[in-house]
């Protein structure tokens, strides 16, 4: 188990390092940063000044190593656009994103578990197919479109919910649904597959034979075991939700990490973009690692992988 953990940890670090290199290069190669920072109507002198001030005239490798070293020492630098330090900017926005991410995950679980159980118990019938259709629709609809449909329904027609902002709990309802619905299908399928497998196993037959109610059999004995892999998947999905909230945050004008990333890309605010990307990839890598370890802990067969 220790060896396995170390191996996984090493792999995770490599992935994080790779992501940081790719992010750095992509940002630098997508156009002259100094020009973008200087803005419309800037004179050549201004642009040259920007280039020197921000050290953009140095070779890419040196810029990268420089950035990596300061970052590793805990200093994320200054935002070129907001002129404040990146760490506090991120600390400011992180809670909103975590809130939407966690809510969405809870929503996805609340939807996928009952649907998965229903589909498994009535496997092969119309109930199964209906549950599948509900879940798959989530994956088929692009989430920006789904978000607009929600706005039309709940804000414009029914006037139940505010369109955008993050001032009250009501503001989080639509973003949660729009984001959470998207990750429902894989979890629902996993619950369904797990339940079908568990329900046909020997101990369930024993439980039924003991004369337990079918509710108790399905939920107490069956679901508990079927949920084990879902927990691990949920951890990975949380990483996906945190990184994937850029579009949702932009549509609902939620002032979170995703929106910050979007702004920083449009303003070529490299220090911010890099820090956000690094942070999100680290979270993702960490959650994947947790999922791996969790799986391995629960199922010793996987430790050799």
């Amino acid at each position: 188990m220790l060896l396995y953990t170390l191996k996984r940890l090493g792999l995770a670090l490599l992935v994080a390092a790779f992501v940081s290199v790719v992010a750095f290069m992509l940002l630098r190669l997508s156009g002259d940063a100094a020009l973008a920072i200087a803005g419309e109507g800037a004179r050549d002198e201004d642009i040259e000044l920007v280039r020197q001030t921000y050290g953009l005239d140095r070779p890419l490798i040196i810029q990268y190593v420089d950035w990596l070293l300061t970052t590793l020492s805990g200093d994320f630098g200054q935002s070129l656009y907001f002129k404040t330090d990146v760490a506090s900017l991120i600390a400011d926005k992180l809670p909103v994103t975590f809130l939407i991410g966690s809510f969405s995950l809870l929503f996805a679980l609340a939807l996928s578990v009952p649907l998965g159980v229903l589909a498994a118990v009535f496997s092969g019938t119309w109930v199964d197919r209906a549950a599948l259709a509900i879940a798959v629709a989530g994956q088929a609809l692009p989430n920006f479109f789904f978000a607009l449909v929600l706005i039309m329904l709940f804000s414009i027609t029914l006037r139940w919910l505010p369109v955008s902002g993050s001032d009250s709990w009501a503001h989080f309802v639509m973003p949660t649904i729009a984001l959470g619905y998207y990750v429902t299908p894989p979890m629902m399928r996993l619950v369904r597959a797990g339940m079908i497998e568990v329900l046909s196993s020997d101990y369930i037959r024993t439980a039924r034979a003991k004369g337990l109610s079918s509710f108790s059999v399905v939920f107490k004995h069956g679901l508990r075991n079927a949920l084990v892999p879902v927990v691990a998947l949920a951890a990975v999905q949380l990483g996906f939700l945190l990184g994937g909230s850029i579009v949702i945050e932009t549509i609902f004008a939620l002032d979170g990490l995703g929106y910050l990333a979007y702004q920083s890309i449009t303003h070529k605010d490299f220090p911010v973009t890099q820090a956000v990307l690094l942070l999100l990839s680290l979270i993702y890598v960490l959650l994947t690692l947790v999922a791996d370890l969790l799986n391995a802990f629960l199922d010793p067969r996987m430790r050799v992988a």
Binding site: L148, T157, A253
Partner: protein, 504 residues
């Protein structure tokens, strides 16, 4: 397309239920904008929202009346040029900043000297770099010395140059000014949630005799909403009272909503095609004046203005906004839409079978596509290269783009020195570098006599047209969508004047 059909469907839904405006009841306005302000201090941002905040929270020495474009006393009661490079201003007495600090010469001197010092890295250098230094003469009199003769100074002092309180600003700097802004203007900032919202409150003690009226609306909430669909949805659901820059097709549909008013307003942003016709021009055909003239004849700007720009669009014949000082189309060669003449000119220049052309653009894509089609109609095989502004400018300045679709807002400065001079005075964006044209714009920018300036600009604009260095097209409009009960007026400088607005 998607957005359009959604708006249409949403409209049907909204026709049923009409909300009573919550904002009207508590005498506030909820406004949204799609940009984020990096710093609310007007010297340290270069976005439109920053200009709006500048005029709501601060005041300028001189005031330009938006109706007449005449200069009127602001924080300065009078001003005169002592020599070519020295402007003397008498200051108003009895004005107080939001924090109680009295306004006097010290504030003017500190603000101007601080902002114009390159070491302080003001963002919009071009707005302030003409100031050499400001000096106090007595408590209510200052002199501003310019680096070179700069007659447009008056216009700049009426625009992007607000007055800061010297003691407070010296203590907190631009960073503190962002967190807790202090000006003399009609509104006070009560809260600035960076990236999210700015909340303003009417300044009850706004100084007597100010050219801006005392505000009627008590509270303004400016929210940053990046997505236009979301802004429109907020308007439909009654969550906002005013938005601007609504795309023409959505604005047209929103007219059907009974609780909304849709207004279009002309803006100072002009659109033109800029050629790179210099010695080392990247395209041989574009070097030929007949080819450039052919392109000017090939584009039907009247139709484009009417159908693609929207209500109230104004066709221009020279590359400046008509109200700008020195802007005129008198005696300038015109190029009416005439595809036959365009073909004839091409044939005459030896391009009977046309040629390949990369056409660069960065905004208003439908307009760029229309132009590409007009060019193809006369045999020029144009290909659209649509990219970010910074990328297009890079291509242009690197001498790689022969024809670019440009737009220019002159920073809302009502003077030609902030307009065509940027493109034809031999600096940065001027790739053609015609010495005769350069000399004329230089003369216009630096002469003190208004008549001499006007004459120089007129001749310069005439030459640009005659030699077809650019194809002037039209001034853009912008659509405002507001609650029907809100009374407001749109101006070409795209500045929503909250202090003038009222609930009916």
């Amino acid at each position: 397309m998607l957005g359009r059909s959604l708006t249409a469907a949403a409209l049907l839904a909204t026709l049923a239920a009409l909300p009573a405006s919550a904002a009207k009841k508590d005498n506030s306005i909820r406004f949204a904008y799609d940009q984020v302000l990096e710093n609310i201090d007007p010297y340290f941002n270069n976005v439109r929202l920053g200009v709006m905040m500048n005029h709501a929270v601060w005041d300028t020495l001189i005031y330009r009346n938006p109706e007449t474009n005449a200069y009127e006393p602001g924080l300065a009661t009078s001003w005169k040029w002592i020599d070519d490079r020295t402007l003397e201003l008498e200051l108003r007495q009895g004005v107080k900043f939001h924090n109680g600090e009295p306004f006097d010469a010290e504030d003017v001197v500190y603000t101007l000297n601080f902002a114009s010092d390159p070491a302080n890295k003001a963002t919009a250098q071009q707005n302030i770099s003409w100031v050499e230094k400001a000096e106090k003469v007595d408590q209510y009199k200052v002199r501003i010395r310019t680096k070179r003769p700069f007659p447009a100074a008056i216009e700049y002092l009426a625009g992007p140059i607000p007055m800061h309180p010297n003691e407070y600003y010296a203590k907190v700097g631009p960073k503190g000014m962002n967190e807790k802004p202090v000006g003399t203007g009609p509104y006070k900032v009560v809260q600035h949630d960076v990236g999210k919202a700015i909340r303003l409150e009417a300044n009850k003690d706004y100084w007597e005799g100010a050219p801006k009226p005392k505000p009627t609306i008590e509270k303004i909430e400016v929210r940053m909403i990046p997505d236009r669909q979301t802004q429109v949805a907020e308007m439909l659901s009654g969550g906002l009272d005013l938005i601007m820059n609504v795309p023409v097709e959505q604005a047209e549909q929103l007219k059907a909503a009974p609780h909304l008013a849709v207004n279009s307003g002309l803006t100072m942003r002009i659109v033109f095609v800029l050629f790179n016709a210099g010695e080392n021009a990247p395209h041989p055909a574009i070097k030929d004046v007949r080819v450039r003239q052919a392109i000017a004849h090939a584009i039907d700007k009247e139709t484009m203005a009417r159908q693609l720009v929207g209500e109230g669009a104004q066709v221009i014949e020279t590359i400046c906004f008509p109200t700008q000082f020195g802007c005129t189309d008198e005696g300038a060669k015109r190029y009416p839409y005439d595809p036959e003449k365009a073909k004839a000119l091409l044939a005459e220049a030896g391009y009977k079978d046309g040629f390949d052309l990369q056409f660069y653009s960065y905004r208003e894509r439908p307009q760029a596509e229309a132009m590409v089609n007009y060019l193809r109609a006369v045999g020029i095989r144009a290909n659209l290269n649509f990219m970010q502004y910074a990328a297009m400018r890079e291509q242009h300045r690197a001498n790689k783009a022969a024809a670019t679709h440009q737009t220019w807002g002159s920073f809302s400065i009502n003077d030609v020195s902030a307009g065509p001079s940027a493109y034809f005075k031999g600096i940065d964006d001027d790739m053609t570098k015609d010495p005769e044209v350069i000399a004329l714009f230089e003369k216009g920018d630096t002469s003190v006599d208004p008549e001499v300036r006007k004459e120089a600009y007129k001749r310069g604009l005439q030459l640009v047209n005659e030699r077809a260095y650019a194809v002037p097209l039209y001034a853009l409009t912008t659509y405002y969508v507001s609650d029907k009960e809100l009374e407001f007026k749109a101006y070409p400088d795209e500045l929503p004047r909250f202090w003038e607005m009222k609930w009916k």
